[in-house]
Subunit: 193 residues, 2 copies
DNA sequence: GCTATTCTGGACTATATAGTCCAATACTCC
DNA sequence: GGAGTATTGGACTATATAGTCCAGAATAGC
């Protein structure tokens, strides 16, 4: 042990994630990241090892933060359709209010990452997979409770909802109109009937 | 009149669009665009007026190219559900084959553009609106033919399908697995029943 | 062929960028 | 308090970038 860090690695990563989320990877410079975290270049490079590594870690961090908060909403003791309706309504609220106008970080990364960046795409894929798994779990339980049709394909539903939310949030970035988004959500939820 | 251009403006724009689509806006340099088009910087700047303008014009060009090809598929003399199934199947094929792995140019732009770039976002919004209008038109006609339920909300359906396709193509970029994509599409199409 | 006019190659500028490096610093353990 | 060690600030490098500029080239009209 010797001189201790003057910053909290977790907080710094949070700030990095936030900036990459808002501005995008390519449009964010290392100087920007230093400014956002208050770290010097040395500390940033020593701790995280460069811009690209920060992206990968930010993606993972986003997933770790986002998955439980989604799971919490779906764990409410209400019918699964209501639970998803609440989740989607929250997305709409955030988009309309402005805070959700930067889209989903995973979605932004998926769109911006070059096709050849397999490592980064794998992180994003894993993140989407985590969401999908949470959805599936909620759907399986709901099916066991008899809330879904017996022939309902919970795998397919989970995948559809995952993609649907990406579409919703993407459209919301460009067209943050409540009526439009509510149309999308209402139609989406009909798959649960 | 004097010295004529040595290149075709339309072809050059096409090549620009292609590169911006594949690589993204921020990751593409003006030198890259010169190389892709074969134009010198002078010609590029004189003709199009800089990188940002090229983006806006590329978005418009993409919409002009894409909308009719979608409309053509939906104009086939088959039930609207089959027509949409064919459209979505084509997207899946392109994704799985690889050519569709770069996503939708509009979607990529929506994701990458900063929230504050209102002009560019407006071009993207208009592009999505064109797709939505084509969808709506096909749905309205189908409804008149009695293919949809009398209470079907064609506006909402068109919006939902527009967003759903964005979600599908985004997910496809990260996870180009036919089974996953077919699950998404199958569930999506149920809104037309 | 001559001239006016537009186009083209590529040099040029000023700035931004990712990443490296080291001396100075601040702390812990003994 | 001394020695060892990890951290920090910030200078530094080499390269890339968006956009400007102009001299020379190529053409149409006469």
């Amino acid at each position: 042990m010797a001189r201790p860090r003057e910053f909290d690695e977790d907080i710094a990563l949070e700030q990095v994630m936030d900036l990459l989320w808002t501005r995008g990877y390519e449009a964010t410079s290392v100087d920007d990241l230093c400014a956002a975290t208050g770290l010097s270049r040395s500390s940033l490079y020593a701790t995280f090892g460069g811009k690209r590594n920060l992206l990968l870690r930010s993606v993972d961090r986003y997933v770790e933060r986002r998955t439980p908060s989604i799971a919490a909403i779906l764990a409410r003791p209400v019918p699964v359709r209501e639970a998803f309706a609440a989740l989607l309504a929250e997305f709409i609220d955030q988009i309309v209010a402005g805070s959700g106008r930067r889209g989903c970080f995973l979605g932004n990364c998926a769109a911006e990452l070059p096709r050849g960046d397999r490592a980064a795409l794998a992180h994003v894929r894993q993140g989407l997979g985590r969401t999908e798994a949470v959805f599936r779990e909620a759907l399986v339980q709901a099916k066991a409770r008899g809330e879904l049709q017996p022939k309902a394909d919970t795998d397919a539903l989970a995948r559809f909802l995952t993609a649907g939310i990406q579409g919703l949030r993407l459209v919301g970035k460009v067209n943050p109109d409540r009526g439009t988004l509510e149309d999308i959500v209402a139609t989406m939820l009909r798959c649960l009937d």
